[in-house]
Symmetry: C2
Subunit: 150 residues, 2 copies
């Protein structure tokens, strides 16, 4: 027996994520930020002052890439690096600037609308079930189970 690509979970997740990413990139382009920048903004909006390595975990962006991305975002005035203010001097805490916060706030409704469109035709229960299952798959892969979803 062969291998049915169209029922292969990694394939289904990859194409859905890719489509989601491509379409959402277009949506936020007018706001002057890239998808990766939005991911950083969203993570910091969720919890400000994160360290670079925390951001890497939360955004799935490689640490070195992130280090450079933060540099660009700093230049654009979206975030600020704070070096070990009082604590560990190795750590860089990244915080939203007022502009960064405003940008994040402006995009959040777009993100919500976008999620709603992606889940068109889903009941609330179905959407919650989907999210819970994605959390379970992530946990199965060794990813840290952060918290409950939905």
């Amino acid at each position: 027996m062969s291998f049915d690509l169209t029922a292969y979970l990694p394939y289904l997740i990859n194409r859905t994520g890719a489509e989601l990413a491509a379409a959402f990139s277009r949506e936020i382009a007018p706001h002057g930020v890239t998808l990766q920048m939005w991911r950083v903004l969203a993570a910091l909006h969720h919890r400000d002052g994160l360290r670079i390595s925390d951001l890497a975990g939360l955004t799935s962006i490689d640490i070195s890439t992130l280090s450079r991305l933060i540099g660009k975002m700093e230049k654009r005035g979206l975030v600020a690096r704070r070096r070990g203010p009082e604590a560990d001097g190795r750590v860089v805490a990244v915080a939203l600037t007022p502009v960064g916060r405003a940008t994040a706030r402006a995009i959040v409704p777009v993100a919500r609308r976008y999620e709603t469109a992606a889940l068109a035709g889903f009941t609330a229960d179905e959407a919650a079930a989907l999210k819970r299952m994605l959390v379970r798959v992530y946990a199965n892969l060794g990813g840290e189970a952060l918290d409950s979803a939905a």
Copy 2:
């Protein structure tokens, strides 16, 4: 009210896909192919002789990137380009070589095992439901509904 990242579908899909990709990349490295190459092999194993643009749709890889990737895979003897053999001369059909087919066949069991691990703790019904929902989300985003999953 804020924005709960941990219940945001694009976030959940992105991190799951990223984790899936990273871990699977490591698994297939011994076979001498990259993740993107595996995606091409899997697509051709599913249906051989696809055109570059079909492969782009199936793998979510940009056409220009794919053109160069096919070049590399050709050099490694995994696939062969066939230019409009009798039909449309603009089209390039990509076909697996015996080596490419053998490589795909060698990786398929790894892929199956990997999917099983990702779905650990899922009943067959749950796994099928997850897949169906991912197909629905993809369709909502305007992606072509290829066929039924699971």
